[in-house]
Symmetry: C2
Subunit: 357 residues, 2 copies
């Protein structure tokens, strides 16, 4: 009785088992544990499964096995091109290892992030949390019930990969100093951004040791739109060079400077962070601290999958696993947005009243 209406109903493992004249458990093994069945059997089952157009039902599979073969990537803002590279890196690595990646946009909100983390717990085997807006303790708690790797967030007890932008802040200042700048400003990102405060501290320290002026403006949402206010605040600060939390903010500021007739780098030099999409074709092209973000994604995925592998045994052979924290270095990419400080630094630019749309 091979009566089967044209691909109508789902073909299950039972159908395959019947067609192959074996038990369902054998089919299951042939498919998920090839080394537990004879080669002949494996071939036979595979052939039948293929012929019948059988696809395992992932829900049923994970209901019994406890593994979903999914990993989630949580990012604050999907429309920030900084995350392009991350996405690609994690996606590539996950797929190569047989995992499916779920991307979740947490909308720059700690509560959205927290609720996704809770909801996702049963749908994924682990999650990569990029630029978390959550508190340390929330992250530690989450990490205890679900394998987590953070990106750009270093917490005791939670595996992480951090892109070491702060370390290169010295290079930024050296670059600026050599161009004659003596007063710089930092346009900060969200207050909940760990990266932003780290960058600010590093910049501050670097400025102090070089005896130059350094002030903070902001905080700003890391978007193109917020770049306008950042630009205005930057002009108001009378600094001759501004380091922005990220490229998005910097590019937005570039547009505003242009609107207000402030020349970059003639009047003000601009430095971004990340070297994300757009940094090379904006006007002028942006000097920025380039981050190996795609690489970070690959590394984070590797760490996560490793953690998933030895769930239950979270101490490695040497007492502590070697992969606990990974630190990736950045480098300064000099483009046209930085130049010599204006001759008379404080008279060139005149702050004026403007409405910040």
């Amino acid at each position: 009785m091979v009566e089967r209406a044209g691909g109508r109903d789902n073909v299950t493992i039972v159908d395959v088992a019947q067609a192959a004249g074996v038990a369902t458990s054998t089919v299951s093994r042939a498919l998920s544990k090839p080394e537990r069945v004879s080669e002949r059997m494996r071939q036979r089952v595979l052939a039948v499964a293929n012929e019948l157009g059988y696809y395992p039902n992932p829900q049923a599979r994970s209901l019994t096995s406890g593994r979903t073969h999914n990993v989630a990537l949580l990012i604050p803002d999907i429309t920030n091109p900084f995350f392009f590279g991350l996405f690609r890196g994690t996606q590539a690595q996950a797929r190569a290892r047989g995992y499916f990646q779920l991307v979740v946009n947490t909308e720059e909100s700690a509560s959205v992030e927290a609720s996704y983390l809770a909801e996702l717990a049963k749908s994924v085997d682990g999650v990569i949390v990029a630029a978390s807006r959550l508190s340390d303790s929330e992250l530690v708690t989450a990490s205890s019930s679900l394998p987590i790797v953070t990106i750009n967030r270093d917490i005791e007890g939670v595996p992480s990969v951090v892109i070491d932008t702060p370390r290169a802040m010295g290079n930024v200042l050296d670059h600026l100093v050599s161009l004659g700048h003596a007063s710089v400003a930092y346009a900060a990102g969200p207050v909940t951004s760990w990266s932003s405060s780290r960058r600010w501290k590093a910049l501050q320290a670097a400025a102090r040791s070089r005896h130059i002026n350094c002030q903070k403006i902001g905080p700003f949402t890391p978007t193109l739109q917020a770049g306008a206010s950042a630009a205005d605040a930057g002009i108001h600060s009378r600094a001759t060079a501004i380091v922005f939390f990220n490229d998005l903010l910097a590019i937005g500021a570039l547009q505003r400077f242009s609107e207000r007739g402030v020349s970059v780098p003639g009047d003000i030099s601009v430095v971004g962070c990340d070297d994300s999409f757009g940094a090379d074709f904006c006007n002028p092209p942006l000097t920025t601290l380039a981050a190996p973000i795609e690489h970070a994604g690959r590394v984070a995925t590797d760490m996560l999958l490793a953690t998933i592998q030895n769930r239950g045994a979270d101490i490695g052979p040497g007492g502590l696993p070697a992969w606990r924290h990974e630190r990736l270095t950045t480098f300064l990419t000099i483009r046209a947005s930085t130049g010599p400080a204006p001759a008379t630094s404080s008279s060139t630019i005149r702050p004026e009243k403007v409405s910040t749309a």
Copy 2:
């Protein structure tokens, strides 16, 4: 049985039922069908569930109900900012309706797209396929076993929303003609792109009716990198204005023109399509056919969810459902990349040998 390291035991519906002193089915109903239980009962169950930290297991839920409450969004290239808006539109609408969105990158490959479509069939209730690289028949087949809505792909029998860029091609040409251009070129996207061929046909028709020259160059991969070859081909074509398949390609070309000392719009005018991220801050800012992509995402999601609702009954009250195909209009956004045609159109630019990195 492997237990989650450090985590408490999973609390299931059984635990909640016991703690509340009711049957599991009552808990189930209280949670997913509030109108089928008394208000008092609902409150009680909710309270207990909350207190116990109960979260339903999505796999178990969908195994019995047949619904996953997931929808997938398939896009060819996640790093193309054109899809930003799409993502946001679909995400917002899906979440508002209680669905979780899976984003899948098909890497511009028809086979990857097809395999995802097959794999996803059991994990999602429906899928939105943007800019599909699949053939009509493949799409129709897929659509018969899984609710599908396409974006920028119009096929008989498959619900779709298409952004009607072609319709506005007349405006593009009028704009160009009024600037004195008499010879334009179209830099085509992938051969498998339905949008690209539609745009070309529309441009061709518009050019013919205005008695101006029109040629096609390409095809090109729609990336920043490919923009360089497109630019070179554009120069070689001796057209005074080039319409690019999309903004990514156009922006890439802008960079190449600048490298080769070709002035835009002095020597060549450039028109993009989509008005995606970057089109307003590249140099010069891009004249482009703006597409309401976020809106398209919302509409597509609505259509998909509607389709999912009445699975089985695919004919509406009036014979055909009103939502079958949706057409969204675009409009020309004029920026600085288009200008008057050069005085002596064919002697200004001299094609020369260059290595296309």
